[in-house]
């Protein structure tokens, strides 16, 4: 039993819960992703205009904005997923990952996509076992030692807060998992190859509130080690999970800042009108 003598005598003696959300940009971590003057087009249709944005390391940055504003397009630029779409290209500017232009000829796009993992709106586990889903990336990277793979699979599933739920059925088909579990499996799959950045495109939009809460809690734990960029239509989610928020409109970055500031006192009227539901 705690003695009364051990209890804090004044408010100043109480140990406050750690507040790890930045109040302003001066507290920002090192820069991880540097988007500089980027224009992007699908064929002749320009969808991003002069976007400049610095995404800090080991923090969660949310992209918000109305449908068609370019937030998912920009997200997919960061790991060059847009390369898979014919005619889609950055027409001006560049994106740098830890100082290196991701479109430079010497950059291995496969390795880029290992370093910058992605989780999609609709979870997309492979039609394989839970174990095989997580180990797949390791095997194609050339790792064959069973014990090493076992260890990596467990570590990834634990990091994705899924291990306890699946440890006794690793050989069962991933499709037997619930929607929320499948999404966490996809996160584990991304984590297995030791990325530095995790991109999330509306990861909870198909999930129920409890599954959503579990993913949000997971994001909070992961950001200690990974840089996370999340596109979300859910303003309250952006407010809950992110440290920084970028608001896009018609292909332009309108405002970027600490989430606390964006959601209590945004600088731009358009931002205020959007987040308060006055347009969009």
């Amino acid at each position: 039993m705690v003695s009364l003598l051990d209890m804090p005598q004044t408010l100043t003696q109480q140990v406050p819960r750690q507040i790890d959300r930045p109040e302003d940009e001066t507290e920002r971590e090192a820069l991880m992703i540097d988007v500089r003057d980027v224009d992007f087009a699908y064929g002749s249709n320009q969808v991003l205009h002069d976007v400049t944005l610095e995404i800090p390391a080991r923090a969660v940055t949310a992209f918000i904005g109305p449908s068609g504003c370019g937030k998912t397009t920009l997200l997919r630029c960061i790991n060059r997923m847009n390369d898979l779409i014919e005619g889609a290209r950055i027409t001006q500017g560049a994106i740098y990952l830890e100082g290196v232009d991701i479109s430079a000829p010497e950059v291995d796009v496969v390795d880029l996509r290992r370093r910058v993992g992605m989780v999609f709106q609709k979870s997309n586990p492979f039609p394989k076992s839970i174990y095989e889903n997580v180990s797949y990336g390791l095997r194609i990277a050339g790792i064959t030692k069973r014990s090493q793979i076992d260890e990596a699979v467990e570590k990834s599933l634990r990091a994705a807060a899924l291990w306890d739920e699946v440890k006794d059925r690793l050989e069962t088909n991933a499709y037997g998992l619930s929607g929320g579990q499948q999404q966490r499996l996809c996160i584990a799959r991304a984590l297995a190859v030791e990325p530095e950045v995790i991109l999330m495109d509306e990861p909870c939009s198909a999930l129920d509130p409890i599954a959503t809460a579990k993913i949000e809690e997971l994001i909070h734990e992961l950001k200690a080690q990974y840089t996370i960029v999340i596109v979300t239509h859910n303003m309250q989610q952006a407010g809950r999970v992110s440290d920084y928020t970028a608001f896009f409109y018609l292909g332009r970055l309108i405002e970027f800042g600490a989430t606390t500031k964006i959601f209590t006192n945004p600088s731009e009227k358009k931002t205020e009108d959007y987040i308060t539901g006055r347009f969009g």
């Binding site: 303003m235 407010g239 209590t264 006192n265 205020e272 987040i275 308060t276 539901g277 006055r278």
Partner: protein, 228 residues
């Protein structure tokens, strides 16, 4: 400047209802204090009684504002200026309720004073009333119109009110020594002056809340910064 309407009309209605209840509550509180003081100056116990009865309706409005505020937070999860408006309305209403309580206190003291011959020192109360009530009206005005300059101006006037109360208390204390037969009367006037000084404190709190709504700035517990 009036902000554009929300896409969700019910959100505008809910915020409007909250604002109207704040205005109604403030109006009743102002009337309560005015009635109490009229009851004092005109030696009218009926006016004092009305001031006391008003308090119940004001208490109910305070509860209503809290209930509506929670409802808006729950249903609409407001952010930015909307969030500040709701939070400020919920913080402001206890201050308005306390102003009404001061009206009740003044009315009770006035009734006691009315049982005895009038004291000329009652004149000391009039300028204090004018100053305090002007602060209260302006603080509510600043809140509803989101006028930062007016709000800061209200906050700046509290020192002057404190000085007026101190001077009045000193004068009345002196009179207590000079005329001990009227001691209770002078003591009641000291308390009435203090009630009005407290009205000024509540108006200051409301002014600080108004600055928070309009400018997202927390100016509490700072050395005073004059309006620009």
């Amino acid at each position: 400047m009036t902000p554009p309407k929300h896409i969700l009309g019910t959100f505008d209605e809910a915020l409007g209802s909250l604002r109207n209840n704040v205005l109604m509550m403030a109006g009743l509180a102002e009337r309560s204090v005015d009635r109490a003081l009229k009851g004092l100056f005109q030696r009218d116990d009926d006016l004092c009684a009305h001031a006391i009865v008003d308090d119940e309706e004001i208490d109910q409005l305070e509860k209503q504002i809290d209930k509506e505020g929670i409802d808006v937070l729950l249903r609409y999860q407001p952010v930015a200026s909307d969030l500040r408006r709701v939070v400020a309305a919920m913080k402001l209403s206890p201050n308005v309720e306390r102003v009404a309580d001061q009206g009740t206190n003044i009315a009770r003291r006035a009734r006691k004073l009315n049982k005895h011959p009038p004291l000329p020192e009652i004149e000391l109360i009039q300028p204090i009333q004018a100053h305090a009530m002007a602060m209260f009206k302006d603080s509510i005005d600043a809140f509803t119109r989101e006028d930062v300059d007016l709000a800061r101006d209200v906050v700046s006037r509290d020192d002057a009110l404190d000085k007026m109360n101190k001077m009045a208390s000193r004068r009345l204390t002196q009179r207590m020594a000079e005329d001990p037969d009227q001691l209770r009367g002078y003591l009641n006037l000291i308390f009435i002056s203090r009630c009005l000084e407290r009205v000024g404190d509540h108006a200051t709190n409301i002014g600080e809340d108004a600055v928070y709504v309009a400018a997202a700035e927390d100016i509490r517990h700072q050395p005073f910064v004059a309006a620009s």
